[in-house]
């Protein structure tokens, strides 16, 4: 996901210009947030809207002098809840979250490498379909760099439950992908 592929909206520019802290957070977390939302099943436009709304909420949150220790987890939670609210039928649309068009990351590789990558992605996609919704969300948040405690805050789960869910999901993928 290229930084240039997603235009920065004007309100967010104003927001970023007024707060160096939010600017730093935006640069650091925008990409993982977008990837998480897109992989959840949102379109690119929807994901950008949600990310902007999340950062505007953060700006209001910080402006009201309410301190937040874990801003990354807070942002993911806000984005996750907004994504759910935007979906008319969350479970239906999110049931196949990772079946979008894929961009080959081995575009500069040989044809054999591209074929192998495609086959690997096909296998991963088939294995992901076997995961439950919570297992997918746990894996996606983990791929976004969140700790188990943050994932638990986003999804409303205990840390021990997150650990169990993560282990189950990884084992399922390993069995199905045969890597």
């Amino acid at each position: 996901m290229s930084d240039d592929s997603v235009p920065l909206a004007l309100p967010l520019l104003r927001l970023a210009a007024g707060s160096s802290e939010v600017t730093t957070l935006y640069r650091e977390l925008r990409k993982p947030l977008l990837r998480y939302l897109v992989c959840l099943g949102l379109s690119s436009d929807e994901a950008q809207d949600v990310v902007q709304d999340a950062f505007l909420s953060l700006q209001r949150h910080l402006a009201s002098d309410r301190k937040q220790e874990n801003i990354r987890g807070w942002l993911f939670r806000v984005a996750h809840n907004q994504a759910r609210n935007r979906q008319a039928s969350y479970h239906r649309r999110f049931s196949e979250p990772l079946d979008g068009e894929m961009e080959s990351l081995a575009a500069d590789g040989t044809p054999e490498q591209r074929v192998l990558e495609k086959e690997k992605f096909r296998c991963v996609a088939a294995a992901i379909r076997l995961l439950t919704l919570s297992e997918r969300e746990c894996l996606l948040l983990r791929a976004g760099g969140l700790r188990y405690r943050e994932i638990g805050e986003v999804l409303g789960m205990a840390v021990s439950t997150v650990g169990d869910t993560m282990e189950r999901a990884i084992k399922k993928l390993a069995e199905k992908c045969n890597v």
Partner: protein
């Protein structure tokens, strides 16, 4: 099945406490099977991350790439049309200068077009006086013979006397002048 197997993913993610992590470290050094599982879990995690990157990149880039060829085709077609059919300037027919002597209704073409255009507008109709000043009065177009008995009481005028009403009609159809003569 090893005791630490359930903790391998958490160990990989560094989510274990220091004591638990130390136990797993010791076990891994002596258990080849768990080392193999760890390698598999690590590879699965990396593959999942790469897959998510590919999905995200595909969704965000595909929308742009889908429109690029369409826009390029439209622009190319417009250029071809412009080159194949250059815009020709339409020469208006020559307009003779209107003269009162030769032309009974001297209405300049441009002025007429402007007047028609103006009349089509709903909210910008020029006043009648202004329009009348632009048009030259025409010669008498209508003459109406009116018997004197129809205009005066019986006995006021001699019998058989008629009056002729001459109506000057403006080009826009309005009556400009009425003159009554014997």
């Amino acid at each position: 099945m090893c005791d630490v197997e359930a903790k391998l993913v958490a160990w990989l993610d560094r989510e274990l406490s220091s004591d638990e992590a130390a136990d797993v470290d010791r076990h891994i050094k002596g258990c080849q099977e768990c080392r193999g599982r760890l390698a598999t879990y690590k590879q699965v995690s990396e593959t999942f991350d790469v897959y998510c990157d590919a999905v995200g990149a595909g969704k965000t880039r595909h929308r742009v790439s889908r429109w690029v060829p369409v826009l390029a085709s439209v622009v190319a077609a417009a250029v071809v049309m412009f080159l194949a059919f250059p815009q020709r300037r339409v020469e208006p027919p020559p307009v003779l200068a209107p003269t009162l002597a030769s032309v009974p209704v001297p209405a300049p073409c441009a002025a007429e077009a402007a007047a028609r255009k103006t009349m089509r507008r709903r909210h910008a109709v020029p006043p009648v006086q202004e329009r009348a000043m632009k048009w030259q009065p025409t010669e008498t177009a209508v003459q109406i013979a009116i018997p004197a008995e129809a205009m005066f009481p019986p006995g006021a005028m001699p019998k058989g006397m008629n009056f002729i009403a001459e109506l000057s009609i403006a080009p826009d159809g309005s009556v400009q002048q009425v003159r009554l003569r014997q």
